[in-house]
């Protein structure tokens, strides 16, 4: 299990990470989502030990992860802003990284380059942004890491390539019990593959939960009533968000949907009532809204 415990970091007087807690199990894909500039990349760079924390620790299977620890040999980080050494090809880079990672697999490398249709002898500098992302991903997967940190990995990729990415990733997570931490803005993508989500805001994890549990706790309903809707309250539910489109209201709720429905029916004549599926985006907006993010009105 990868555990981040009370990790804090100051960049001069600005506290960029505050008491971060993360728990990602083996064989789990952990989605790290958050507002812009909330510290996702900084957190990933602390986990991989590019940056050194002021306080707190990172543990992997109860062993401390440090720059000099043995366990970090099983970590692989793919950064958002990719870099490849000057003049390198995927092949030359594979050979270079083969000197650093013990589990580098040539079979997997060959299989993946074929799957993604990448020329391993082409200079990486001459590749497109999407091809570079694929190249970096191929190298990462070929290293067979136990912990894979992916920063905005599917950003800029087309839907087909994304699907390929997830196929390879899910197969490896299941097959090799790999722990994956993905930071992304594309919540719809993460929605489909994440087992667990950590929501970051202003340097803290404001919510960390299994995806299934998150979706259970947060509900989305649509309804229409005969009268003018003036609001509703109850002990067993809490309205997180409310949108009105014509006579139809869309509400995000925390708590018991049935209790909400009963309360609604007691007060109004309900014309329609449906429970909708909750996606990660809804959860994200709801949670950050609770933290005061994005709640400002344009006219305010």
């Amino acid at each position: 299990m990868l555990r981040v415990d009370k990790l804090s970091k100051n960049f001069r007087s600005f506290q960029v990470l505050k008491d971060i807690h993360i728990n990602a199990n083996e064989g789990q894909i952990y989605g790290l989502v958050g507002s812009n500039g909330c510290g996702k990349t900084t957190l990933l760079k602390h986990i991989i030990q590019v940056f050194r924390q002021d306080s707190g620790q990172v543990y992997f299977n109860d062993q401390v992860v440090g720059e000099r620890s043995e366990v970090i040999k099983d970590f692989y980080y793919v950064q958002d802003d990719l870099f490849f050494p000057h003049g390198s090809t995927l092949n030359s880079l594979f050979n270079f990284e083969g000197l650093l990672y013990d589990q580098m697999s040539v079979e997997k490398f060959n299989k993946l380059t074929t799957y993604f249709k990448i020329d391993p002898n082409k200079k990486l500098a001459n590749m497109s942004k999407g091809q570079k992302k694929q190249a970096a991903f191929v190298l990462a997967m070929s290293a067979n890491p136990k912990v894979l940190l992916l920063d905005e990995i599917v950003d800029g990729l087309d839907a087909v390539i994304r699907r390929k990415f997830w196929n390879v990733l899910i197969k490896d997570v299941v097959g090799n019990n790999m722990t994956v931490i993905i930071s992304s803005h594309d919540l719809k993508e993460l929605d489909n593959i994440c087992d667990k989500v950590g929501i970051m805001h202003e340097g803290t994890i404001i919510k960390e939960e299994e995806m299934s549990s998150l979706k259970e706790n947060l509900k989305r309903v649509q309804f229409a009533v005969a009268e003018d809707f003036e609001g509703i309250s109850g002990d067993e539910f809490q309205i997180v968000k409310r949108i009105q489109v014509g006579k139809v209201y869309f509400m995000t709720l925390r708590g018991n949907v049935e209790a909400f429905r009963k309360a609604l029916e007691e007060r109004y004549q309900v014309l329609i009532f449906d429970e909708l599926a909750v996606n990660l985006e809804e959860i994200f907006i709801a949670e950050l809204g609770g933290a005061g993010y994005g709640t400002e009105e344009l006219d305010a």
Binding site: K9, F11, T42, K45, I48, Q49, V50, F51, R52, Q63, G66, E67, R68, S69, E70, I72, K73, F75, Y76, Y77, Q79, D81, L82, F83, F84, P85, G87, N95, F96, E97, L99, L100, Y101
Partner: protein
């Protein structure tokens, strides 16, 4: 479990990989060296001489510098750093691999140059081995310095400048120390910054050893290897310490270490006013201090503004500025307090074995049988050395010692005179101790001090005359010498050389009598005679401004008529001495005598 190894287990392969990536650099470097060290000398039909090898070494310095900057540039770019630092290799292992790659690159280039140097003839003035002996430690220390600076900075251009600053840091510190010595000289009457500086460099701060220049003179020795190992260990230890403390997140800033940033800001801000002080030499002490503080404050602000990339500086920057000012003021106060009790120190005559009075701190002793010629700095010259020196006067008779002590007391009271000059007084005690004093006399218009009064006492002692002007006042001067050559030049309306038959016509004993008469008269008057008194042995170059009755002329040649008399003596073991006397019409008796000779 922690990795304790300083080197990655695949360092060998990583280094080979790194060297392969340097293939183009190897090729370019060899082409540059081949053209400049081999081809150009052939085309220009010049044999391959030392100059081309030295040019090659300079090129190697440049190439190694560029390569170090490129190889450590991963520390200065967030993308590169994110890639390399995320790999399972510690910072130290990565730095070590980079160092090894650059050491191999350097060794190959220097090795190639050394092989070429084996095939060339060197002249007697320079041994190429000496050049390599200095260049190799410089290159090794330079690579480590580049590594240290790379770790301290977050920008490759800043790292380039920082490497040069760090490599020359011992010299910069020396310049600052020298400036502080000059302040001590300004505060304390009688102290010599020059002497303190020379003593400091000779005994404490061995910059010649630090930069291996000494070994180019003395040759290879065990201390060479010891110093080299010490310096490399120190630099590597520093690199190790700094790399553990580096804040990678600050990559992209000019300097990532706040401590280094403040240190370098203070060093450069101190050096700039020191450089300016060269043009402020005429300004008084208070003016110098005020100028220093103003220029320091300005330079400190600007350097910090550049390093911070902001015109608003941090509170710590202001605190450090305040700290430096406090240190500077404390330094002035402490120096003033601790040295003031030495200012008035004048020994008792009974304690003194001999005294040197002069204006030279460079002491020269001629070659004698079984003893080569030698020169020393005054602070380093023993009493015996001083007594046997050729260019200085050491007085030891009680009457002269008494009069010099009176002169010294007067110099302590007042450091002004008709003209500006420097006076050194060195006391050699019976118990072996030495006391050096140094006075810079400033030119004062309408000077009315008493220095000439005490000076007259001194220059009219027999001891002074005998020691200062032995040719004229030492009775036995000529007994073990013969005059092998005599030349006389006349300068008047036209220049004239009158050497024909001079040996027959000019009687040296008569000449000495006339000179003695003239000098007795001059010394009895002692008008502005300080400069003449402190000149070297048998130096009769008497300027016109040494006479009170004359206005100071622009140049000595403004005198209408004068004779130059040049005498060459030959003593034991055919040792030759040369002396020239400038005889103006003020040397009335001698001048008349020479007129009769010429006619």
């Amino acid at each position: 479990m922690e990795q304790k190894n300083w080197m990655h287990k695949n360092t060998g392969k990583l280094v080979v990989n790194g060297l392969k990536e340097k293939r183009s650099w190897f090729l370019v470097s060899f082409v540059i060296l081949f053209i400049t060290v081999v081809i150009i000398p052939i085309i220009t039909r010049s044999t391959i001489r030392e100059g081309f090898i030295i040019a090659g070494i300079v090129e190697v310095f440049f190439l190694v510098f560029i390569n170090c900057m490129i190889d450590f540039s991963y520390l200065h770019d967030a993308r590169k750093l994110g890639y390399y630092a995320s790999k399972p290799m510690t910072d130290l292992q990565r730095i070590n691999a980079t160092l090894v790659i650059n050491l191999i690159y350097t060794a190959v280039l220097i090795g190639a140059l050394y092989i070429v140097s084996l095939f060339i003839e060197t002249n007697i003035y320079m041994s190429l081995n000496d050049v390599f002996m200095v260049a190799i430690p410089w290159l090794l220390a330079g690579i480590l310095t580049a590594g240290i600076t790379g770790v301290l900075t977050g920008n490759t251009i800043a790292a380039s400048l920082g490497t040069i600053i760090n490599f020359t840091l011992p010299l910069s510190l020396l310049a600052i120390i020298n400036y502080f010595f000059r302040i001590v000289e300004d505060i304390t009457v009688g102290f010599s910054s020059n002497m303190m500086f020379n003593l400091f460099v000779d005994k404490v701060y061995r910059i010649d050893i630090l930069y291996f220049v000494k070994y180019a003179e003395t040759g290879m020795s065990w201390s060479y290897w010891l110093v080299l190992a010490g310096i490399l260990c120190l630099l590597y230890g520093l690199l190790l310490w700094l790399s553990k403390r580096r804040k990678h997140e600050r990559a992209g800033e000019l300097v990532v270490s706040d401590g280094y940033k403040h240190f370098i800001a203070i060093i450069i801000a101190t050096l700039l006013p020191i450089a300016f002080s060269a043009i402020l030499w005429q300004v008084g002490f208070i003016g110098k201090v005020v100028n220093f503080l103003i220029l320091f404050a300005l330079a400190y602000y600007l350097i910090n503004a550049v390093l911070e990339k902001s015109f608003r500086l941090s509170a710590l920057t202001y605190k450090l500025f305040g700290g430096f000012i406090v240190f500077f003021v404390l330094f002035l106060g402490i120096v003033n307090f601790t040295t003031s009790r030495f200012e008035g120190k004048v020994p008792e005559a009974s304690e003194i074995s001999s005294i040197y009075v002069g204006n030279s701190q460079w002491i020269y002793r001629q070659e004698e049988e079984g003893r080569p010629s030698e020169s020393r700095q005054l602070y380093n010259a023993t009493e015996d050395f001083m007594r046997s020196a050729s260019n200085v006067n050491v007085y030891d008779d009680p009457e002269t010692i008494d009069s010099i002590i009176q002169l010294h007391r007067q110099l302590i009271k007042d450091q002004s005179y008709y003209y500006g000059t420097t006076v050194m007084i060195s006391y050699y005690y019976h118990n072996g101790e030495v006391l050096h004093r140094h006075y810079n006399l400033t030119e004062t218009e309408s000077y009315e001090g008493d220095l000439d009064h005490v000076l007259k006492e001194w220059v009219n002692t027999e001891g002074f005359k005998r020691i200062r002007m032995p040719f004229i006042y030492e009775e036995d001067y000529l007994t073990d010498k013969i005059i092998s050559d005599l030349r006389l030049h006349f300068e008047g309306e036209r220049y004239q050389e009158i050497s024909q038959g001079l040996m027959d016509r000019l009687d040296v004993e008569t000449l000495r009598r006339h000179l003695r008469r003239d000098l007795d008269f001059y010394l009895a008057e002692c008008d502005k005679c300080l400069q003449f008194a402190i000149q070297g042995k048998d130096d009769y170059w008497l300027y016109d401004y040494d006479y009170r009755s004359y206005d100071r002329p622009a140049t000595p040649s403004s005198v209408e008529k004068l004779y130059y008399l040049e005498i060459t003596f030959e003593g034991e073991q055919n040792r030759k001495n040369f002396m020239s006397i400038r005889v103006t019409e003020r040397f009335e008796s001698t001048f008349q005598y020479l007129e009769t000779i010429v006619q």
